[in-house]
């Protein structure tokens, strides 16, 4: 389980796009680095990210080693009514993690 920080605006209005910001604590080991002994440190990254709102896709992203450590993502969402934003990411080991955030439409 990696730490995730999700920022959603306090005021969300129906059918008005709003920005969601996500920070994920992950080294995103590129596979390019070498350790003290000169051995290549194997690649170990989050390679897939998907955001859905009540099951409907918002953003579906493929990440490659060029995405920086502790990945940051900012994207636009539009909601008709209050619901649940689910952020799911998968790493190179196939481990999946999902974080849920309530979206409250005023």
């Amino acid at each position: 389980m990696v730490r995730v920080l999700i920022n959603v605006p306090k005021q969300i209005h129906a059918n008005e796009p709003f920005e969601v910001k996500v920070l994920i604590s992950h080294p995103m080991e590129s596979g390019q680095r070498r350790d003290q002994m000169g051995q290549a440190i194997p690649r170990d990254i989050i390679n897939h990210f998907i955001a859905t709102l009540d099951g409907e896709t918002v953003l579906d992203a493929d990440f490659f080693p060029a995405i920086a450590a502790n990945p940051f993502l900012s994207f636009s969402v539009v909601a008709e009514k209050s619901g649940t934003l689910a952020l799911t990411f998968v790493d190179d080991h196939g481990v999946t993690q999902t974080e849920l955030t309530a979206i409250t439409v005023t």
Binding site: N7, K21, I24, P27, A69, N70, F72
Partner: protein, 246 residues
Amino acid sequence: MKRLVLLAVAAMSLMGAGDRRSGYDDASADTRAMQDDDAANPAFLWVQQGESLWSAAEGAAGKSCADCHGDVSAMRGVAARYPAFEPKHGRPITLEERINLCRTDHMGAAAFAWNDDKLLSLSALIGLQSRGMPVAAKAQEPFLSEGAALFRERMGQLNLSCAQCHEERAGLKLAGSLIPQGHPNGYPEYRLEWQGMGSFYRRLRNCMIGVRAEPFAPDSREAADLALFLAVRANGMKVETPAVRP
């Protein structure tokens, strides 16, 4: 001794209030933007961990930080006055060392290693409570003068002193990178170079290895002297913890 005091005074006067630049001022617009937005500042991943650690009971005493200190907002102003003298160690100690003392003396918990993720998280959380406040470290002798002397002492195979880069050549470039004045007002900070969080000690260690010197131990008198000297040198500047630096 008098010469050391004069050295310290000279060191202070070289940095007139208007001449001081935070690492923030020297960073690129994008790096500054990363620091300015708490939602985009990776350091807040550590602050978040710090928040859960603050209220987690640990150690033989079964206490959490919150049990003694209450809400973390009570820590307002605390980080700003570190390093501070601690009679137990007979020298100034850093905030990280204070956290460890709390753990060993009041919680019955083991001290964290100097680069432990959890220690950085707590330090970042507590430091955040002082954000925006002026650095207010107490000028304690003989440590301050010792630190001033160390700042000017040539070290390592490259035979360079801190002052040669961070005072004489601050604002100039070292292989394309701007040399900052080296104020510790943002620690612990997220350094892009580290791709992670680090304390002032981590940076000091990097610098010393950079000039091919044997780095001072984290609990050494020298490290404490330098930490205090640099904090006092930055007195009045705003605490930026948790900062973002290149």
